[in-house]
């Protein structure tokens, strides 16, 4: 088995093999792209699959997965810029004041005291990232993937589903907690329009919340595909991508939370 999965290091170096042809029977992949999509790090073949050597569509079991993952990462890079822009605006607004009619310098920024429930929400979100990661790894568990490959049911889905559902649930708990935080602020008479600082508090929690709603949507989509999709490859992709998105929203939140809690 490993002999098939792992072309030797020299074989993978294009400059040493001017004749890069795929019809060589010993050359690992035979171009059908149908090797089992396991997560085993073979150091070649499975994860070293190199565009340089092989035609598209036959670059190993993870070709499609990697493509989608890369797409998600690019999208997240854009999203990061979105938050960076808002955070820069935060700092710029925080630092800027004006002169009043008597030539006094005024900075009307009144820090918004964050409701303590945010700490709880943050914990929930971190835990949800852990469950999400467990679900993601279940999808690539080698024995299960091999079983599926042999046609023995859908063990990956069966194992990943509870963890994924837990993630979605925790996500909803987080959203409910954020809503609660808003309510608590409103009760204290702090609204979005109250102060520059509260503008940013509601804006940041709001846009991050929208991202999480989309994330929960993606998780629900992943759950549905676990239930209904037959192709293990597609299920891996949708779980993998939603979980990477979910992790990023968690990381973004930690930074945003730190901003709101400590840098007001």
């Amino acid at each position: 088995m490993p002999g098939i999965l792992t072309p030797t290091e020299t074989e993978r170096r294009p400059e040493r093999r001017p004749q890069r042809r795929t019809d060589d029977p010993d050359h690992g992949d035979h171009g059908n792209g149908r090797r089992p999509p396991t997560d085993k790090r073979t150091g070649g073949g499975g994860d070293g699959d190199n565009w340089n050597d092989r035609p598209q569509g036959s670059r190993g079991p993870r070709e499609k997965l990697k493509r989608y993952r890369l797409g998600v990462f690019f999208a997240l890079a854009g999203d990061l810029m979105f938050f960076v822009a808002i955070v820069s605006a935060f700092f710029v607004s925080q630092a800027s004041g004006r002169f009043d009619a008597y030539n006094n310098y005024i900075n009307p920024w009144l820090p918004t005291a964050i409701p303590p429930v945010l700490w709880l929400n943050t914990a929930v979100l971190i835990i949800s990232s852990v469950t999400a990661e467990i679900a993601r790894r279940k999808m690539f568990h080698q024995f299960d993937v091999m079983e599926e490959w042999f046609g023995l049911g859908k063990p990956t889905s069966r194992r990943a589903m509870p963890w994924l559902a837990a993630t979605a649930f925790l996500g909803l708990v987080f959203l409910a907690g954020q809503w609660l935080a808003w309510q608590q602020l409103n009760v204290q008479g702090v609204f979005m329009r109250s102060n520059v600082s509260s503008h940013f508090f509601f804006l940041i929690t709001g846009v991050h919340g929208i991202h999480l709603v989309l994330g929960v949507g993606a998780l629900v989509g992943a759950l549905l595909s676990l239930r209904y999709s037959q192709q293990v490859e597609n299920r891996q992709i949708i779980v993998d991508c939603s979980v990477w998105y979910w992790h990023s929203m968690g990381v973004f939140w930690i930074f945003l939370f730190a901003l709101l809690a400590f840098f007001q």
Partner: protein
Amino acid sequence: MSANPTPNPAQSRSSATQKPRSLFSADHRTIGRQYLLLALVAVAVGTVLSLLMRLHLTWPDRVLPFHGPILPEDYLALVTFHGTLMVFFVLTTAPQNGFGNLILPSQIGARGMAFPRLNCASFWLTTLSMMVLLSATFAPGGGPISGWTAYPPLSAVASAGPGQGMGMDLWLASLTLFSLATTMASVNTLTTVVRMRCDGMTWNRLPLTVWGWFTAALLSLLAFSVLLAALVLLFCDRHAGTSFFVPMGDVVNGVLQDAKHGSGNGSPLLWLHLFWFFGHPEVYIAILPGMGLTSMVLANFARRRIFNYNLMIATTLLIGFLGILVWGHHMFVAGLNPFAGTAFSISTMAIAIPSSAKVLSWLATIWRSRPEYRTAMLFALGFVSLFVTGGLTGPILAQPILDQYLHNTFFVVAHFHLIMAMAGAFGLFSATYYWFPQITATAARPGRLMSEGLGRVHFWGTILGAYATFLPMHITGLEGEPRHYAQLTGIPGQAGHLMAKPMLMQTHITYGAIFLVLAQIPFLVNLVWSFRNGRLAGENPWAATTMEWKPGLFLADLADETSPEETISVYRGPCDYRDGNNPATFHPQWVSESVAE
């Protein structure tokens, strides 16, 4: 070539289920054509609007049929629609997504884009965005009047002018959709270039067009995300009572805004920073694909290697990188810290270095060659000419002290119309003439060429019209003609005296513009006529080296399960025209060494 015995099931299925002709097709060529059609509609509307502006500036008292007199707010709405349509729906959409979709996958030896369905969604989101924008015409109060840059407080306060209520909201909605669509499209482009290159297509074998699209996609991803954030903030200012951009004590049309915008401490400067952080990369998004194409077309018709290929790749990336660092040059007179002004001035002049390197490479590539002056080549040369003319005023504007005077005058209008609007359009024209066989060919019908005769008329008319229209604007700008003013005649007092001089040239500029628009008639005729009756292109009509002209490649990606899939491989960099004097000998990227020797 080794035939691949077992076609990958997933791939064949996707290409078979995508009926290339259907409206919601996920086929990249169809989507590319749809984008081009959308851009054609946008450019037609935008052009008519610009003519109306010219007519109004020259003969302000004329009454428009079916409309009545052009009021100042009408004029400003025209400015806004014209700018938004041209910048977003023409110059961002057509080169990057139109030709990008049509050509990019073939040029890297891929059978399609990385995410076909996402691609289709981006296109329809863009279309929806344009419909929302155009629907703003019918908003009560008319279209928005704050220009494509939408500076607050004008854009943040609904009572700031007619059209700033519903009209402005629709503008915001439209640009939000557009940002999302463009971000999706750039994710697609980036992933395609990184993951879908064929066997042997290393990074420095990528054609410069691909480098242009790739860099522009990187910029789009970063820039449009920031624009989206800015739009969200502006939306909150308009509808959630915040004051990100509205300063304390702001009085708009006699009404104090404090009550409506919280007890805020906003600043329009914040919008300027966010907007131009997007806005300057945006102008490079519009021009980078054209730069790449110019390099390739010049080399193709001069039958020369591109002068210093790797440096051209580097300058493309460097322009992209520096483009992110120069946004402050739009804000010299906005109240920027003078030290920041100096820093931005230096970074802006730094960008002239890679830009000049590109010009030098273009000139060196064609130097003493005996190029074939086909229409595509003429337009590429026109691109170089306009890029130089428009670019020379850049470093002038980049001096904060000179910009004190020149900012918001027609000098700036001349600068960016030459370098962005006209050079961008010339890039698109060159692409259209060059790739017309790719635009017209489908599985069922062969590709055709455009008529060279009409093309020549089009080229000379357009370049004369472009210079006749936009060169004099430098002079009126220097004489003090401000931009975004509905009417410059009949002003009482000293100002009227000042405006008397630039007004002398208005008629000339307007005739130039009319001539420029009329010069597009041969183009439209050519498009329609050649679509059915153009000369058959055959395989590789320009004896080009890049992969989109590989025989059979195009049929391969329309293939269904039954046709054997062939491995696509690349053996060398592009533009390998070894014997410059004999056009018959050239080495396309897809021909292996053994065959070529």
